[in-house]
């Protein structure tokens, strides 16, 4: 029995028809810390990836062991997911992306796949002019 029911799977499969380029989901876990959350997070990511096996790959890393990779990705906590497309766009999910954040995970996979942002031309022009790094944190709850 999976975390995604048949209706979820069908909806995600439909969304994944928009996928173009390859996407890698890098999952960080740790056996000692938040073990159950990490296990569920890994399972969720694998179930999502199985809905587009030709496009989405999954790599599971251990925060305590794969320290250099964690540092390179800026991951300090688990469970965590990095959504990478042709490059690392800087998209991270900390904690299991359930509820509304699950839709955002799927949406981020599609955006990373194409490298195309669904934003107005005006917004994209303004962002192109940024000279400083911008770190956006979005806190949410599953419900």
């Amino acid at each position: 029995m999976g975390l995604l029911n048949e209706r979820d799977q069908a909806a995600v499969r439909k969304e994944f028809e928009k996928l173009s380029g390859p996407v890698k989901l890098v999952v960080f876990s740790q056996s000692l810390e938040a073990a159950e959350l990490c296990r569920q997070n890994e399972e969720l990511v694998r179930e999502v990836a199985e809905l587009a096996p030709d496009t989405i790959t999954v790599e599971v890393l251990n925060l305590a062991i794969d320290r250099e990779r964690a540092e390179a990705y800026g991951i300090e906590r688990v469970p965590a997911i990095v959504v990478e497309g042709a490059r690392d766009y800087g998209i991270r999910f900390l904690g299991i992306p359930a509820g509304y954040e699950f839709s955002n995970l799927i949406d981020s996979i599609i955006a990373a796949s194409s490298g195309t942002a669904a934003l107005s031309a005006e917004t994209q022009r303004a962002l192109a002019g940024l000279t400083e790094a911008v770190d956006i944190k979005v806190f949410s709850t599953p419900t």
Binding site: R77, L94, P97, A117, L119, A126, L130, D135, V138
Partner: protein
Amino acid sequence: MRLAQHMAVASDRVSATAIEATAFPDLSRAYRVSAVPKIVINDRVEFEGALPEPDFLGAVLRAAGPAA
């Protein structure tokens, strides 16, 4: 998170992190999260609730600009 992640795709400078608040009570406390969604940009500009794209962009530009 939707606008944030699209901004991350649009710009090399932007990164977007979704944080499940109940799983990380230390972070939620540190960023004084009392209502969600709560957005914190460069630890300088913050707001609660969803904003339309132009307003979200305005918050990003304020956070990226020189300190007042």
